[in-house]
Symmetry: C2
Subunit: 482 residues, 2 copies
């Protein structure tokens, strides 16, 4: 091993500089490259494969809940944005515009989609005629572009990958049921698959999606105490239906506007996963979305090498047969120690070590990435032990992240208390809010924290507004956010 390589693997400690830690980790784990286009990254195979596994899980859930995938155009005519006033105001500053194509100047500029409510609204107005066409439940996997001023790999990139669900319903009740159902799908996915605990709640009016009646979100806490909005689900009311004329003949034979929803999660979840689970040794990938769940490393002197590798390959075959994503690293030119570090840095959930003594004893060593604990298990129970440990690691990751969040979560009565807390540490703050935009804005101005959401199940209810001291209308989670 060259000294260069040793150096390359060094990672800035989280406590020293969390942002630098993040950039070190993603570069060193080979997750991405900066591209020559401002704010756009290349999703390298090791991150793209995580996205593929996330897609597989999400897609199955969307289909189970009755949705089908479709694909709509990348380009959106400028006039479409003008149709929904809040929507255009929200997205206009971030749009890239195609003005020339095929050697000619276009008569109407085309935006690259930042989201597809307008295009899909237009198509739905063609497709929906009768209540029999409803509910219309469609999802799209796509790239979208938002020309952001400040970008950060995965968390905020000019182009990113996502899914956007768009549904149309007969009435408010059904549309709201859908909005909540998909929020719950996201919670269940992010918690049970990505091992990230989230807070479900409603966005305040100033933080809701441009054009929505109500926006709901799941919010996660990173290891620096900052928030990432991990997923959103919007009830649009009839805003887009009116703008795009999505009308249907209802059961009473009357032309009625449909109620619509939209909901999405994106590749920013990869960034959240890194920041929630990673540590000073590198990535820690949740087992259920780890491209490689188990890395197997044969060890020991040259004379037993061939025998040990042969047995490793047999055990590898058992894992593969059981559907566990494993790989063997039997490269002779790297030491076991180097490999241990390497795969810890890459966040592989389980390392399996097998040496001559393990061979003699019919055992094998499993090492958990999250706890570092070694467990010696009988080879005959190998697959079962690995399955159990993968499950245990998922659970431990979730609990650990939840503990961290709870430890960095406080509640305050006043803005001064909140400032005091944020001076000492980072984290989330629960506080009462009177409902006025002015008070919300003052919190942001004085602390840099924004309202994350109005949680459905706050740890406690707060009675008075932290800013004006008036009676609180809501209990809100505040936090600085990515």
């Amino acid at each position: 091993m060259s000294k260069d390589k040793q150096f390359v693997r060094e990672i800035t400690p989280q406590s020293e500089d969390f942002s630098k830690w993040y950039l070190d980790v993603i570069k060193k784990a080979d997750l991405m490259s900066y591209s020559p286009v401002r704010g756009c990254i290349v999703f390298k195979p090791d991150s793209y494969e995580i996205w593929e596994l996330m897609q597989r899980e999400l897609d199955a859930r969307f289909k189970e809940t009755g949705h089908r995938n479709a694909y709509f155009p990348l380009f959106i005519p400028e006039s479409f944005f003008q149709k929904e006033k809040e929507h255009v105001e929200g997205f206009n500053p971030e749009l890239p515009w195609v003005t020339e194509a095929g050697g000619e100047k276009l008569e109407e500029r085309l935006a690259i989609r930042p989201t597809s409510e307008t295009m899909i609204g237009h198509m739905y107005s063609e497709w929906i005629n009768s209540y029999r066409d409803l509910p219309l439940l469609i999802n799209q996997w796509a790239n979208v572009v938002r020309w952001e001023k400040r970008t950060q790999p995965f968390l905020r990139t000019s182009e990113f990958l996502w899914q956007e669900g768009h549904t149309a319903h007969e009435d408010e009740a059904d549309a709201r049921r859908e909005t909540m159902q998909m929020l719950e799908v996201y919670r269940e996915f992010v918690e049970n698959i990505m091992a990230i605990p989230v807070i479900m709640g409603q966005k305040t009016p100033s933080e809701k999606f441009a054009g929505a009646v109500d926006t709901f979100s799941i919010e996660a806490m990173m290891k620096d105490g900052k928030a990432v909005q991990a997923g959103t689900s919007h009830y649009m009311g009839t805003n887009f239906a009116v703008a795009f004329d999505i009308k249907y003949l209802d059961r009473q034979n009357t032309h009625t506007y449909a109620h619509t929803t939209s909901w999405g999660v994106s590749t920013r979840l990869i960034g959240a996963m890194i920041m929630v689970h990673g540590d000073d040794r590198g990535l820690v990938i949740p087992p259920k979305i780890a491209p490689t769940q188990v890395v197997m490393i044969p060890i020991g002197p040259p004379k037993t090498r061939e025998q040990v590798i042969a047995r490793t390959d047999e055990l590898f075959a058992e894992l593969k047969k059981a559907g566990i994503r494993a790989k063997v690293d039997d490269r002779p030119d790297q030491s076991p120690g180097w490999k241990f570090n390497e795969y810890e840095m890459r966040g592989i959930p389980i390392r399996v070590e097998l040496g001559p003594r393990d061979m003699e004893n019919g055992q094998v060593v499993l090492v958990s990435r999250i706890s570092g604990e070694k467990k010696i298990v009988a080879q005959e129970n190998f697959v079962q032990e690995v399955q159990q440990l993968l499950e245990a690691i998922h659970q431990e990751m979730f609990e650990k992240a939840k503990r961290f969040r709870d430890e960095n979560f406080t509640d305050v009565d006043t803005l001064d208390e909140m400032k005091e807390f944020l001076d000492k540490q980072r984290g989330f703050i629960l506080a009462g809010w009177c409902g006025s935009e002015a008070c919300e804005a003052q919190v942001k101005e004085e602390t840099g924290a924004t309202s994350r959401n109005i949680p459905f199940e706050p740890a406690k209810e707060k009675d008075t507004c932290l800013v004006c001291g008036e009676k609180a209308k809501h209990t809100v989670v505040f936090g600085r956010a990515y």
Copy 2:
């Protein structure tokens, strides 16, 4: 059933107007909608699901052959196109340009990718340093845009979906081996999964990819005798490596240019599938990519209805358990006859009918979409019979398409013979070619047919050029193309 619906299901016969038949079928089978953006279509769920099944099959093959997926930016800086002369000439006329973003005019225009050789070439030059980094085997699933003058749903749309493989190798031999391997992957997929027979061969220099040394293709014949290029695989030599400086330190410690390849298939294959297999009753979807492989229709009078539906549901559960994609249509407000027509039009490979007499006899009726033949089978062998029939339908579709192609394939000695053939019928023409661009151009000018490829296994070798009569260098397949 309303008369409107009856009318809507009418399809122009293929023999009357093939283009109109095509447009009728895709509209009536609800595969797509025209979008408000010129040349862009919406892939509705019934076509997108076919694409998803195609993706699953292809992706598995790419991974089996050692490739991994990644994702590169949509935008390509203008200067990148200037680096490979042939490439810029080939694609410049078709590019849409982003000139403004985030409220500002861009310093350098950004093209929307028509293909990603340039962007990926740029990134590979960063990633590849040593022979140890080779071969680099990456695939991307993405949307691409080519601002075409004339478009046709699925076959040629301004935006389309595809995969593009991009690989880098130590030397020509390895890159050529890859080029051929992926062409064979395409052939195997298109023939064994889509039931479309293809002709493998090499493109003539005038028809090769802009920037390639050699382009290879698989070519399929539609039911109107025209050709669709179903997939291509390119050996780039060091053209892109030189343009983007993809150099590596080889085993002799010398800086050497890598040899690269690229290969792709797209959603145009959906159009080919429709035009190869469809008939006057509508779509015929190959079983292996049919979103619904079996539709089950309970029939008979109201008094036995409940019982028949219950048994249908049981049989449905058996299919589902066996991994067969089935659905039951037990809607009481549509007649069995209407349903039979509807699902024939939609191209579902197998229709299952179950009525009271079938119940009594412990049997069930299977109807093949491709032959229309009815087969009465014992309910106890139901799943196995369905599996066998799906396989038989695939085989029959392939054989039928192959027979059609062979019947519309001739060989000629002179351009006059070729014109005579094309006056009478449409189809492919095998002819000798001296290798001169002038002769190739003359064929195109006088017949509208282009060289499809130089087949690896021509039915016969032709000795003289059909235009100039000189000694033939190659035997070429000519045809009019989409």
